[in-house]
Amino acid sequence: MTLKITPIRKDFPNLKDKIHGKPLAYLDNAATTLKPKQVIDAVSAYYSHYASNIHRAVHALSQKATLQYENTREKVRKFINAKNTAEIIFTSGTTESINLVAQSYVKTFLKANDEIIISEMEHHSNIVPWQIASKETGCTLKIIPVDNNGEIDLERFKELLSSKTKLVSITHTSNVLGTINPVKEIIRIAHGHHVPVLIDAAQAVGHQTIDVQDLDCDFLAFSAHKMYGPTGVGILYGKQNLLEAMAPYKTGGDMIDSVTFEKTTYRELPYKFEAGTPDIASVIGLGAAIDYINRVGLNKISSYEKTLLSYAIKELKNISGLQVVGSPSKKAPIISFVLDGIHPHDLGTILDEQGIAIRTGHLCTQPLLKRFGVLSLSRASLGIYNTPKDIDALVGGIKKAKKVFKC
């Protein structure tokens, strides 16, 4: 563990707070991460010193805001190694990024009897938009099954691909199992059939290096708030030729070239997809979050989180009656588990009383939970500020819950 945790922890004001009188062990990073003061300061600086709209006025405030906003686009481009900034669209989050493709791509290019392939481990946000778009166009949704280890069945995927397949949309990293999918391989196989692929990278960015050119993905969606940035901002990366061919998703101000009552022409990429005033402050905050991650170093983050994950799994597996769901060969720092005799909601409440934050419930993946025969789960997910102490607190908390529940 070459990561220096003490200075990192000092950057996150939330970690100084006491929760129910106890130090906070924040283990709900897959839902959203805490924010470092560098991000909070960047958001605050915009509101305090140059609050103004972008791409419009000639005054100094607007020019500074526009510059910071567009600088973030360049930071995102570099962060995921996109070819150019025209391919980086700011949205409200991963969900909107996926909806944008579902509406603007699927509806433009798909027709009845075409097929879209997703997997059994998708978040609801990578299921429902395709379901709706399929209904509207008469397409069929095909599902790649997940095995008992929590891995995609690649052979079944190959069988599902056909001349009818027009899009594959799959998660890079499962928000429940932590499975890191062989997305590069999936993309290669799909491209062999000339099928474009969307990657839901919400759980991957900020934890692993993402290189869109190396992956050769056609679309990539992720959120700022799961990588130490503000809520309210997501990114859609798309290959330029695809984005250019797609119709606008939302329409209105800032995305037009000229408007008459008879006809409107749209602006060039990426602005064609950014109608209305965006969440400027949060985009600027995202820029600070990328700087923060780069300063710490993604490789260091990945290897630190991997070590901590191994420790967490070892400790949790020592608890009698606790079963970790899924054991994929490549796993992100996300652990979902069930505990004999204690419902996840009760565990969540008892842990909360001890200052330990985990997620409980169906984790927005009802089909996956059904696959594993459970109605709800408890999930601990790690971030750069977590330490073995947080894991020890979790283990102690679970043991206390077992005492309360006499099991």
Binding site: H20, G341, I342, H343, P344, H345, D346, T349, I350, E353, T360, G361, H362, Q366, L369, L375, S376, V404, F405, K406
Partner: protein, 142 residues
């Protein structure tokens, strides 16, 4: 604070719920699902001449919803429908209102053990889940 929520009664009822299982010859039933947590309970009623002759529940839920369901079945068995509806209203005001509720109301029986749930706002829906199922069941003749 935690001990107020997870009292011995709730823990015991979670392990050994009252009136658990599908009711033979039920006349009414309804399933209630909590989409935020996945809890899924079904309430069965045997109603004749406006009286709840028997009541039971089954399904999957947390300790709070299972204990609440257990005590609900205890409180409603043998009651007239309109009496049951009165108990339902009193229980909900116990959970929701900031005003003092008559805790010694004999009809509420052990249900008052849920009075501390106000301090755990995210868990109020757990205590209500079986009651929502009951209300739907009472309007849902098989």
């Amino acid at each position: 604070m935690l001990n107020n929520l997870y009292q011995k009664t709730i823990i015991d009822l979670n392990r050994q719920p009252h009136n658990f299982g599908k009711l033979e010859g039920f006349t009414h039933s309804a399933e209630q699902y909590n989409p935020t947590c996945g809890d899924d309970l079904t309430v069965y009623l045997k109603i004749s001449a406006g009286i709840i002759d028997d009541i039971s529940f089954d399904g999957d839920g947390c300790a709070i919803s299972r204990a609440s369901a257990s005590l609900m079945t205890d409180a409603l068995k043998g009651k007239k429908i309109n009496e049951a509806s009165d108990i339902y209203k009193k229980f909900y005001s116990l959970l929701d209102s900031t005003s003092a509720v008559q805790q010694d109301d004999p009809n509420l029986k052990n249900l008052t053990i849920f009075s501390d749930i106000k301090k755990f706002p995210s868990r109020i829906t757990c205590a209500k889940l079986p009651w929502e199922a009951f209300i739907h069941a009472s309007q849902n003749r098989q």
